[in-house]
Amino acid sequence: MNIEDRLREALEREPAPADFKRKVMQALPAKKNLSIFWWNRRLSLALALAVIVAAVVPTVIVENRHRRGIAARDQLLTALRVTNTTLRRTKQMIHKNTRRSS
């Protein structure tokens, strides 16, 4: 056999094996399953994150509101104390002046 014949034989088109198509089709669903697995995993992670955010955010808001409320109440009480002190001082001045003039 000369080289030309050997080359022709090597490059000759061969029909696919009988179960080739079946093997390819079997391989495809396996890939699809893997993709669903990853999507499920991502979805679970997103859900877990959403649950954490849903649990944490209201707590932070309530805590923040509580802190603001306490600070505002303290300010209110301080304001009333200052007002009271100022009024008392004014009252004392009025009394002194009244006593002096009488």
């Binding site: 802190r67 009480l77 002046n97």
Partner: protein, 186 residues
């Protein structure tokens, strides 16, 4: 010229309705050792009253505060005499005059001055109280906007024995008493 003065006279009460800009008083405290700066209005005031306790004393305080529009307190303590310019109080007095808050008390004694202004609404009810107390080393301005009388203030802040907020603190911020640098005293 006549028109200008007429416009000016008309604009004064209008400006008074806009509310006083308390930031304009900040220069009074430029040399202050201690500064108390409290502004409570709107939601913040409601929030403050919601956080008062539920006992009998606090109930009357709550009902009073619920009707108020705003509470503004500015107080400055100075290390020496004459460290503030009394003329800087004039814009506040002018505002009170324009808003028709008549002065009901003025007491002068040894270089100290105390003034009380009381706003009356059309029905003759008290619509607010303003106090200016100018001592040698301490200056205090109190402005309470809303239906409150002097008797209410005295009753609430006097006989109810309002505690020091520090006692009530639960490890939180507190009133904005600050030093001259504007830092809060914790």
């Amino acid at each position: 010229m006549k028109g200008f003065w007429l416009l000016f006279a008309l604009a004064l009460p209008l400006a008074a309705q806009q509310g006083f800009d308390f930031k304009s008083l900040d220069k009074l405290g430029a040399n202050a050792k201690d500064v108390t700066n409290i502004t409570l209005e709107g939601d913040n005031l409601k929030l403050a009253s919601n956080f008062l306790g539920n006992d009998k004393n606090n109930q009357s305080l709550k009902s009073l505060v619920a009707n108020l529009k705003g509470i503004y307190v500015r107080s400055w303590e100075f290390e020496r005499d004459g460290m503030y310019n009394a003329a800087d109080l004039e814009p506040f007095r002018a505002y009170l005059r324009a808003a028709q808050w008549p002065k009901i008390v003025e007491v002068k004694e040894d270089g100290e001055l105390s003034e009380i202004f009381l706003k009356s609404d059309d029905a003759g009810k008290s619509g607010g109280v303003a106090i200016i107390s100018a001592e040698r080393r301490e200056l205090t301005i109190v402005y309470i906007d809303g239906p409150i009388s002097l008797a209410d203030v005295a009753k609430l802040s006097g006989s109810l024995d309002i505690p020091n907020p520090d006692v009530l603190k639960h490890g939180t911020g507190g009133a904005s008493k600050s030093n001259a640098n504007g830092k809060k005293d914790e």
